[in-house]
């Protein structure tokens, strides 16, 4: 029976533990999410709410957490008979995430840079069998990525510091880190105002104190207004969860406006 409260430093405990839920409810406070999982004879009750905490979000789980605030929403899952074990699995967003640097970043012509961006995580509560339900750890606003309001895709919006120095990165256990290499092959400098991270095509891996995804390689060819993303191999092999969608040969091609602006 896992009762330990995972700390930020040993964040993997949360994702690797098999939680034994008997009579007491399991509490999870991660990011802005407060989740209370209660087991009854024929149903699971999942109470949840979000408290906007920006970058100083929670990261705790256990049976002894003192949660006084009433959960705003309640989800009931009825099953023939509940099993006492459950697992929490981290996942990436189910839609692309458009990250905006807090201030625009200029990439000169014929230049290649690598920046580090983080995207919010989802938690999938696996209640045995095929019963699984998901919650985002941070409530994200929605945004549209495309040149026209009729052409493009619906994405989640998020902000990033777009750090170029890995050592300056703040380790946030409720966000996943993605190294992004941008190769500006054009003869013009480009100003990066927003970047679409294809989260549904990425897997999550255990990094050094942080969940990481495969590195992305953006190449920008403004001549034909096409950009392509190559999903590269990660540095680590410790995969925590797989991609939601598969892509052929790990390459995504789209119009420039749909990837980068």
């Amino acid at each position: 029976m896992s009762k330990a409260i995972p700390l930020t430093s040993d964040f993997m405990t949360l994702w690797t533990a098999q939680w034994q839920v008997e009579t007491r409810p399991l509490y999870l406070m991660a990011g802005d999410l407060v989740l209370v999982i209660e087991r009854l004879l024929h149903e699971w009750q999942l109470g949840y709410s979000w408290q906007k905490l920006e970058n100083q979000g929670h990261f705790q789980a256990g049976f002894e957490l003192n949660i006084t605030k009433e959960c705003e929403h309640l989800s009931r899952i009825a099953v023939e008979c509940t099993s006492c074990t459950l697992k929490l699995i981290p996942k990436l967003a189910d839609r692309p995430v458009v990250v905006r640097p807090y201030s625009p970043l200029t990439i000169p012509a014929n230049n290649k840079i690598t920046l580090f961006v983080t995207t919010p995580l989802w938690v999938a509560v696996c209640l045995g069998g095929n019963t699984e339900t998901e919650f985002p750890l941070q409530q994200l606003s929605e945004t549209w990525m495309g040149a026209l309001t009729g052409q493009g895709s619906l994405c989640y919006g998020s902000h990033t510091h777009a750090r170029l120095d890995k050592s300056l990165l703040q380790r946030l256990p409720y966000r996943a880190q993605t190294p992004v290499t941008i190769d500006n092959q054009s003869a013009e400098s480009l100003t990066l105002e927003r970047l679409s991270i294809p989260a549904p095509y990425l897997s999550l891996y255990q990094g050094n104190g942080q969940l990481v995804t495969e590195p992305l390689y953006f190449s920008i060819e403004p001549k034909n207004h096409q950009g392509s993303i190559r999903i590269e191999k990660p540095d680590t092999n410790q995969r925590v969860s797989g991609a939601r969608e598969k892509t052929e040969k790990g390459i995504l091609t789209s119009t420039w406006e749909n990837l980068f602006a």
């Binding site: 994200l140 606003s141 945004t143 549209w144 309001t149 009729g150």
Partner: protein
């Protein structure tokens, strides 16, 4: 004479037999066509959308059924070439008699080709708004949100204007808000934009905006425009209006209702106004008389 009777009997027997065979062929054709269209639906339901599925299923059914029907006619002794010739003459005759139906039929084919909407889309036609439940050769059927069945002839859809409310994934909510002339408009605009920033359903891009649209008779009119997913359009619109009212109340911003200023002219004395403190009690009037 006696020799002819058995021959007629035989012909009669064959004719009855052929009729039974033809009826069986039609019946089998109907069953086979139905089964084939069902199988097609089962195997392609995840690959095709509802609209395509309905068209292809119908096409398969009618194709197979017509083949069996033609074979049945052949069984009865009809010559297909003669039938087709007769059908040509019949078509001309029918064409004159059923111009409206023919027009609807052709309009239906154009609609199928143009695909301005699909099954499941929400259309607004002539004041009726509803979900498309079927697209047929003669008409389109809508189910309105108050659960009424509306049949719209295809010809009408080709000729007149209609709006597809679900063609694009995102929509814009335009709210017209009036505030009193004395209010600080910059503060009002800031408050409205903050409200949209707080709601995760309001899209970040395209950005929400707020503009002053005019000086009304009783208020300064503003327009707040916010983009959202089409699924949340109605709820978000209602909740935004509620949030605006609450926010304005909290910040003491007045939403004025139509005002009328009475002016008696510069040369005339002001209108006499009497104040009544409590009902039933006498209130002194300016001339010293008591009034109620």
């Amino acid at each position: 004479m006696n020799e002819l009777i058995p021959e007629a009997d035989i012909q009669s027997t064959i004719s009855w037999l052929n009729m039974i065979k033809a009826a069986l062929l039609v019946l089998i054709g109907w069953v086979v066509a139905r089964l084939a269209s069902r199988f097609f639906t089962r195997f392609t339901r995840f690959k095709l959308n509802k609209h395509q599925l309905a068209i292809y299923t119908r096409f398969i059914f009618y194709l197979l059924f017509s083949l069996f029907a033609i074979t049945a006619l052949h069984q009865l002794g009809f010559k297909i070439s003669v039938l087709l010739g007769a059908a040509g003459i019949l078509t001309v005759a029918l064409g004159f008699a059923s111009q409206t139906s023919a027009s609807n039929l052709i309009s239906g084919l154009f609609l199928l080709g143009e695909k301005p909407f699909e099954i499941g889309d929400v259309l607004k036609v002539d004041g009726d708004t509803g979900e498309v439940i079927s697209v047929d050769l003669l008409s389109v059927k809508l189910r309105t949100f108050d659960n009424l069945y509306v049949r719209i002839p295809n010809e009408l859809l080709i000729k007149s204007k209609f709006t597809n409310l679900t063609k694009f994934p995102i929509r814009r909510i335009d709210l017209v808000i009036g505030v009193a002339y004395r209010e600080n408009l910059q503060k009002v605009i800031q408050l409205l934009l903050e409200l949209t920033a707080r709601d995760a359903r309001c899209l970040e891009e395209p950005q929400p905006f707020c503009i002053i649209t005019g000086f009304g008779s009783s208020s300064v009119d503003l327009q707040l425009s916010v983009w959202c997913r089409r699924e949340v359009f109605r709820d978000l619109k209602s909740e935004l209006m509620q949030a605006i009212k609450q926010s304005f109340d909290a910040h003491g911003i007045e939403i004025p209702f139509p005002h009328v200023s009475l002016y008696s002219g510069s040369q005339t004395a002001p209108f006499p106004v009497y104040q009544v403190d409590q009902p039933g009690k006498e209130t002194p009037t300016p001339d010293g008389q008591s009034g109620v």
